[in-house]
Symmetry: C2
Subunit: 272 residues, 2 copies
């Protein structure tokens, strides 16, 4: 999925919502057996219900790996279902991989070739070698962690670094813009730090930003658009638990649809 296609989706649907698919059997709705074999059915119902109100899906692989092979089967099934039934929705693998060159190439093959995701999240700590193997996939997106939405983002991401004393997350953005294939970079910037989006936009006026932390983590949609939007919208706003666990009864898919629709309605004035 290229940039023009992504922007067209956002304009047409008047939303930049990404639905996070993070299955947790302890929160599965009544009527669905709380076992790994049910994960795909849970996802399928959520996807079918929310597809008109979002531009993509972001499964986080940790929630599948935790259930072993049966969990990973649901991961592959979900990727396959999305590709077959909703080919125009962005498929974003939230894997946060990071390793040196040879190994990074193997990770990139896993998400882009085995499961045919359009995009994958990648960690920056090890530098250029660990990211360029993802960027080498010319028709895919690499979504680099910059500023995350967790409290301990302050531990390292906010530390002033180098001669310019930029916070590390800004240095990550600035440095990564020099890497081969950097036009295929997006960045994770947590919504809990919406005012920081202004500083991010200094370094990457046109890049897409993936914004977690709206909903369950309490981020402010108004501030996100005010400080983060650009002329192409330039934002992908993720909500996971707030949507998929909106209702705990057998009408969970209806609940997810209503929540996704409500979030998209809140976004519409900013996108129009």
């Amino acid at each position: 999925m290229n940039r023009a296609q992504l922007i067209a989706q956002i304009r047409e649907k008047e939303t930049c919502l990404i639905v996070g698919l993070d299955p947790d059997l302890d929160r599965f709705p009544t009527g669905l057996s709380p076992e790994p074999a049910s994960i795909f059915e849970f996802n399928r119902q959520i996807i079918d219900a929310t597809a008109p109100y979002c531009v993509g899906y972001k499964p986080n692989i940790a929630f599948y790996e935790q259930y072993g092979p049966a969990g990973m089967e649901a991961w592959h099934q979900t990727a396959h279902y999305l590709r077959e039934k909703y080919p125009n929705h962005l498929r974003l693998a939230d894997v946060k991989r990071g390793d040196i060159g040879h190994t990074a190439s193997a990770y990139a093959r896993s998400v882009f070739e085995i499961d045919d995701f359009h995009a994958a999240t990648v960690a920056p700590y090890m530098g250029r070698d660990s990211v360029e193997p993802f960027l080498a996939h010319a028709d895919r997106w690499t979504v680099l962690l910059a500023l995350t939405s967790n409290p301990s983002a302050d531990d390292f991401e906010q530390l002033p670094v180098g001669k310019d004393q930029l916070p590390l997350f800004q240095q990550v953005i600035r440095t990564s813009q020099q890497w081969k294939g950097s036009e295929r970079l997006m960045y994770v910037v947590g919504a809990t730090r919406a005012e920081e989006l202004q500083s991010v936009r200094k370094w990457v006026p046109s890049a897409f930003l993936l914004i977690p932390g709206i909903g369950a983590q309490g981020g402010d949609l108004d501030a996100v658009f005010k400080f983060g939007a650009n002329n192409d919208v330039g934002l992908l706003i993720n909500s996971s638990r707030g949507i998929i666990y909106a209702r705990g009864d057998s009408n969970f898919a209806q609940g997810a649809m209503e929540e996704a629709r409500a979030m998209s309605e809140r976004m519409r004035p900013y996108i129009r």
Copy 2:
């Protein structure tokens, strides 16, 4: 595997070698079909041949994920085989995971509960929240990335940070020592930067250090012991490709054994 057991293994075998199990079908020996179904057989022969000359095994999950479900089946089979047949060898999952609390807990369950690894590598970028869920497993080791052996470790890991202007990797070590369960931390410090081990030992005189980059990446064993060893040895030295691809013919397991034995013989004078 606790600290005393690990040290006893090292003293008894007079080696601190960890064998990396990173299957690459393009480098599989003659006589072994280059398909994912052969990975476990490859690993099994390597393990049986090298077990007397090492204290543990470190499969890197990227090399399994790249082959999809069949690759991951080999991952689980390898973990299971090691646990059953070589329970006293350290089983270290090289996964370099990093995500926020709830998600980090899921990753930790995957490596420590599903596959029963003793230890897992974890990335520090997102800070305390992303590491403590691993440390919460009281009988396991969390091996935090500090200074890696790739050239672009300079991009961020070596940047001076904060008011003390320590290189980021040293700040990671210092900060992480304040986290709950920090007595169960080990650190990755690349052998290509052996002189840096001195500065690491200032912050963590007693922690075990996992040293990649000996062998294929050219690190210097003498310098690693000189600058990195402590009274309990305190080192786990990894070699992957140099051992498992020592010979490309049907005697590959013999080749791996000879290479592991030779490396251990080089280590012996430092450990005695």
